[in-house]
């Protein structure tokens, strides 16, 4: 069966022939057994295809709707967006809250009063001053900063050499109060920066803490940065840890005792 015959066959089977074409085709079929057989075979093949198509249609019906798939995907993305929008403020809140708590707790965690010194040179020269100094230090060491402060102020007022060790301990004592008097502490400690090289590192540390406690975080960070940028200065590592916002427990700082009887201080 050639292409034309097949076309006639399919045209006849699909009903596209005219009446005359049909009549001639039937006439042709009557004397053509081979064509009849080919027609029958074609019919079987067509039947097989129709049956297969029925099966494929059943398979097709079982497919999830592509639109549903897309809408489901869109729905999942929408839900994800909603969850994210709801979670984000919560996460931010807890993050900021953590930050706030960290900031608030830093001073309490890190502030430790500087160690007490031996008798000051100046105090040795005046026995009355020595008495005052000893009493101030006793109160200071006991944590009774409110009692130590007046004594330190008395000493500060009578300090002949502008070494401002008294100012230093006065500043630290102000920070030790509850609540800390940060402005007075800063004022005392700034005097130390102006005139005492040996204690300037320590003073810088406590000034930073004072500003921090006061809420002037940016100013405090500047001081911490100064300390962090200089190797081997007092609490250099601790300043770096603070700037990197390390956990409070991991911040290592040193309230080293200061020995005034060392050769450096006997100049």
């Amino acid at each position: 069966m050639d292409g034309k015959e097949e076309e006639k066959l399919w045209n006849y089977l699909s009903g596209k022939q005219t009446d005359e074409e049909k009549r001639l085709f039937l006439l042709h079929l009557a004397d053509n057994d081979e064509l009849k057989e080919e027609m029958a075979v074609s019919l079987v093949r067509h039947y097989g295809r129709l049956k297969l198509k029925e099966k494929l249609e059943e398979v097709h019906k079982s497919l999830p709707d592509i639109v549903d798939h897309r809408s489901k995907r869109i729905w999942y993305w929408q839900m994800a967006a909603v969850v994210l929008i709801l979670l984000l403020p919560t996460c931010l809140f807890f993050f900021w809250e953590d930050q706030r708590i960290w900031q608030e707790n830093l001073f309490n965690h890190v502030f430790k009063p500087y160690g007490t010194a031996d008798l000051l040179n100046a105090a040795k020269q005046d026995s009355s001053l020595e008495h005052v100094w000893n009493e101030a230090m006793r109160y200071y060491e006991a944590g009774s900063y409110a009692r130590a402060i007046p004594l330190l102020m008395q000493l500060n007022g009578q300090d002949i050499t502008p070494s401002s060790h008294y100012s230093f301990y006065l500043g630290v004592a102000y920070l030790g109060l509850s609540p800390p008097e940060t402005e007075k502490a800063i004022e005392s400690l700034q005097r130390v920066l102006a005139i005492n090289k040996e204690l300037s590192q320590q003073a810088r540390w406590y000034i930073a803490l004072a500003y921090w406690q006061q809420g002037d975080i940016d100013i405090a960070k500047k001081y911490f940065k100064d300390i962090a940028n200089q190797q081997d200065v007092y609490n250099h590592e601790a300043a770096k840890d603070i700037l990197n916002q390390k956990s409070l427990e991991s911040i290592q700082f040193i309230p080293a005792p200061y020995n005034l009887s060392s050769p450096v201080n006997k100049e």
Binding site: G15, K22, L26, K36, Y47, G48, R49, K51, E57
Partner: protein, 197 residues
């Protein structure tokens, strides 16, 4: 879409060629796996989901027949083959529709075809019913042997044990008898259809 077990192309082709229930499983697998790709291709080329379904099913039938005839020689993946066949079928369909190079006329004709399609579908269905009725006048064993030998392209050697015959010659004789009977039916039915038309 979960696929369950994954099949290789070779497994699919040899499994379909063997036939049986596994053939149906594999065909279902192929159908489900490649449908989204074909749907996307046709929808992106001025078709709709219904067009895609028709073209895709025709593609799968071609794929199936080629395997059964032993004529499928792939030097590419099955999905690539199906895509190429579908694309060709769809392009041919589009060419026929766009013969007049007039987009608006094309759209209008599509609308008219939609209106007429109801009628044309009935006519097609009537013819399909007529053909089914011809074939289903045959007894089941006749239908089976004719479909196995003609549509599934199985040899008598493969068919006779499936039909429960003793040897190939018996199967061959049976097929011959069934085909003759079908010719008589078709001739008679063709005449009736002709009168109805």
């Amino acid at each position: 879409m979960g696929w369950g077990r994954l099949y290789t192309d070779n497994e699919i082709i040899s499994g379909i060629r063997k036939g049986g229930s596994q053939s149906e499983v594999l065909l279902r697998y192929v159908y489900k796996k490649n449908w989204p790709m074909i749907l996307k291709m046709i929808v992106q080329n001025n078709g709709n989901e219904e067009d895609a379904r028709d073209i895709y099913q025709e593609t799968i039938i071609i794929f199936y027949e080629q395997i059964k005839k032993g004529k499928l020689e792939l030097n590419c993946k099955i999905s690539t083959y199906l895509y190429a066949v579908s694309r060709n079928l769809w392009n041919n369909a589009l060419k026929k529709q766009r013969a007049k190079n007039n987009y608006y006329q094309f759209v209008q004709e599509r609308e008219e075809q939609k209106q007429d399609s109801h009628i044309s579908v009935l006519l097609k269905q009537e013819k399909a019913d007529l053909l089914y009725s011809c074939i289903e006048q045959l007894k089941e064993d006749c239908r089976k042997i004719l479909v196995l030998s003609i549509f599934e392209s199985k040899s008598m050697k493969e068919i006779y044990p499936l039909m429960g015959f003793q040897n190939e010659q018996i199967a061959r004789n049976k097929k011959h008898k069934c085909l003759n009977y079908l010719k008589k039916i078709v001739f008679r039915s063709v005449s009736e259809a002709d009168i109805l038309d």
